[in-house]
Amino acid sequence: MIDVMYFAWVRERIGEPREAVETQAATVVDLVEELKAREPRYEAAFADLSALRVALDQELSDFDAPLDGVREVAFFPPMTGG
């Protein structure tokens, strides 16, 4: 079970800020493909991965990173702090 979190417009497209996902996905991309296959709202959120960033256990990571041992995955657009 992985905690999946969404922020900014990704959260709006998916319609919720977080959910627990039962998955055997090996990598972030595999998880994204599983989610996209579920419902159109995921398809809409993950249509262009180059417009998204991912954090694994609160550290910025990559879409090809393994999910082994990861408890929290977050998807969001590029950050706009400052």
Binding site: F7, Q58, E59, A74, F76, G81
Partner: protein, 145 residues
């Protein structure tokens, strides 16, 4: 090092009065305050963040600045929630023996906070609401460090 992520406003004067106190080898304090600009009828801005990762990311960025410029002290305050034009969004302050390090470290902090701290801004205006898009130049700014 002092890192605060909060919804409440802050007083730059009060913060700076207390900053670096108790240290006798500080020769320079530099501070920067970011303010909500009214661009094209902006009525309000909502800043979302990632609790937990935000503090962690800012802590990493500030720690790197402390080490790289041998700062005596470093402070970051970043607000989230609803803000209106004229409100302060955030501030950084750096303290060092000489001014060059304090100025440079403050710029470094700003550059990294902009694209490596998990905040997202949504602007509300007469034409509706829009998420602020990250700019290529913000990402490019990191390469100078």
């Amino acid at each position: 090092m002092d890192i605060r992520v909060q919804t409440e406003p802050f007083s730059v004067g009060d913060v700076l009065d207390g900053f670096g106190k108790g240290s006798h080898d500080i020769g320079a304090v530099v501070s920067f305050t970011g303010i909500v600009r009214d661009t094209g009828g902006l009525t309000r801005m909502v800043i979302e963040h990632y609790p937990g990762m935000t503090e962690r990311a800012i802590n990493e960025i500030a720690s790197e600045a402390m080490e790289r410029w041998s700062l005596a002290d470093c402070l970051v305050i970043h607000r989230h929630g609803t803000l209106v034009p004229g409100d302060q969004i955030m501030m950084v302050a750096t303290a060092s023996r000489h001014r060059a390090a304090a100025f440079e470290a403050a710029e470094f902090l700003m550059d990294y906070l902009k694209s490596r701290a998990p905040f997202w801004k949504k602007e509300f205006g007469p034409d509706g609401a829009e998420w602020v898009a990250a700019k290529d130049e913000d990402e490019d700014a990191l390469s100078r460090w």
